[in-house]
């Protein structure tokens, strides 16, 4: 379980995260929802220790950050993080060199599924192809948790369908996924838990299944209540 306890973060004098607390469980898809600037991406970066926090705690399976978390948690940002001059095959080789949990067969399968030319240079990929290659890099790690920042941002309809297929595949089984997205309508049927954020605070935490079965509401209904009130 990824657990955030009273996490605070500020950029100079602006408080970006104001005591954020929530959990993301293994085997569930948890979605961080909020307007631009709510602090969603900052939370993902803070979990990966790509930006420092100024208060609170982040626990992964009950433990605070150690160097091994990068074998346990994979992060898929909203842009490619491979040098443009690198061929995709070299990028996969780079991952294999450093990560014990890298699964080369799965990487090959995923690259074939997304119809990526592995001899292409990363710098030549379109935004959609880059997003798909990001997924290849993230999902080919045998990590317990996958964090994804806006996986659908700027991607065409058919590519979105392909990516959504990955969410329902066995690749997701037993993994905990924490993602941010603005495309809530498309993701709604996949999400187990939604964490609604506003101005650096958690304003609501929703068990989606319960919401659907007991209240007959969708996440968007709740978002309307929270953000448009």
């Amino acid at each position: 379980m990824i657990e955030l306890i009273e996490v605070h973060k500020k950029y100079r004098f602006r408080q970006v995260l104001k005591g954020i607390s929530f959990t993301a469980e293994k085997g569930q898809i948890t979605c961080l929802i909020g307007e631009n600037g709510a602090g969603k991406s900052t939370i993902l970066k803070a979990i990966m220790k790509l930006t420092p926090i100024h208060g609170g705690m982040i626990l992964i399976d009950g433990q605070q950050h150690t160097g091994n978390i990068y074998e346990k948690v994979a992060f898929i940002p909203d842009h490619l993080i491979v040098p443009g001059s690198m061929r995709l095959t070299d990028a996969m080789e780079f991952m294999k060199d450093f990560y014990k949990g890298w699964n080369p067969e799965r990487a090959k399968e995923l690259a074939a599924f997304f119809r990526l030319d592995v001899n292409e240079k990363a710098g030549n990929l379109s935004k959609g192809m880059a997003a798909k290659f990001n997924l290849v890099l993230g999902f080919s790690l045998d990590a317990d948790y996958v964090l994804m920042d806006e996986p659908f941002s700027g991607i065409d309809l058919f590519s979105r369908e392909q990516i959504a297929q990955v969410f329902t595949s066995e690749l997701m089984e037993d993994r905990g996924v924490l993602l941010t997205t603005h495309e809530v309508a498309e993701m709604e049927h996949l999400i187990d838990k939604a964490v609604l954020m506003q101005n650096g605070s958690v304003v609501d935490e929703i068990d989606c299944e319960q919401l659907r079965s007991e209240e007959g509401k969708s996440i968007i209904d709740v978002m309307r209540e929270v953000y448009l009130k």
């Binding site: 993080i81 450093f98 710098g123």
Partner: protein, 273 residues
């Protein structure tokens, strides 16, 4: 250690075109001007010899050291270009990972390895590149000397020592000290400079806007710490020069240790993408 080796290998691969370009340009300029000057000088002597019906030439015999001295104006610019590129690369080696279209620093910071390996691999890549360029220059001088013996007939040639040839070029005299201690002092100071600048860059990357001032302040502070034994203690008659030098060496060690410690700590705790 294995991760450090892999990262260093990767950094060197990224640098290979820059290094190859610098070496190619240096070889092109130095070989080109050498051939042009040597063949020209030999031709003049041969012409004079022919005019005097094989009696003698009126020009002095050619020495390799003298030739290197006369070619300084052509040989120094590529050397300074290499230095300038390496100085720029000290900054580029970090900033390209943040500011290129693909922010590779995310991947580097998320490697399952101690983050100090990133720092050490970048530092080692810079040092390895500098020493590769130096070694290339030395090999090039050896090749030029061999070419000199091939091109210049024995009757126009006078023996000179390799070390004299190094002394005739002001850039080589500076970059290739003949004394081991001078060599260690020059390159030790250079390495220290790179470490201090790396720490300043990491201060800027960690604190962004205000980090620029922290970075500049740190460089100034390190410079003052290094200079004060020589400026203040050196002027007083209380210490012997060897004692002032020892204090200077101690201060250099302190600056190096503090810079490395601070750099590692920033990478581990404060860095932000």
């Amino acid at each position: 250690m294995r991760n450090f080796g892999k990262l260093l290998n990767y950094e060197m691969r990224r640098l290979r075109y820059v290094l190859a370009g610098l070496m190619g340009l240096t070889a092109f300029i130095q070989l080109g001007t050498f051939l042009w000057k040597t063949t020209g000088d030999v031709a003049i002597r041969q012409e004079q010899l022919a005019r005097s019906n094989g009696a003698e030439t009126f020009l002095p015999d050619m020495t390799f050291a003298e030739l290197m001295n006369s070619l300084q104006g052509w040989f120094i610019p590529p050397v300074f270009l290499c230095i300038a590129v390496m100085v720029i690369y000290v900054f580029l080696i970090w900033y390209r990972d943040w500011f290129s279209r693909d922010t590779f620093i995310y991947r580097l910071l998320m490697l399952p390895a101690a983050r100090r390996n990133i720092y050490l691999s970048k530092l080692s890549a810079i040092l390895l590149s500098v020493f590769s360029l130096l070694a290339f220059q030395l090999v090039l001088i050896v090749v030029l000397r061999w070419l000199f013996h091939v091109i210049v007939p024995a009757e126009f040639r006078e023996h000179s020592y390799f070390a004299d040839a190094l002394l005739t070029n002001q850039a080589w005299e500076l970059l290739l000290p003949r004394n081991l201690w001078d060599f260690l002092f020059s390159y030790g100071l250079g390495t220290l400079g790179v470490i201090v600048v790396f720490t300043a860059i990491l201060l800027e990357r960690s604190y962004r806007g205000v980090g620029i001032f922290y970075g500049i302040g740190y460089v100034v502070l390190a410079f003052v710490a290094l200079m004060w034994p020589f400026v203040f203690l050196g002027l007083s008659s209380f210490f012997y020069p060897s004692e002032v030098a020892a204090i200077g060496l101690f201060m250099a060690a302190v600056v190096a240790v503090v810079s490395l410690w601070l750099g590692f700590r920033l990478l581990h705790r404060k860095i932000t993408v």
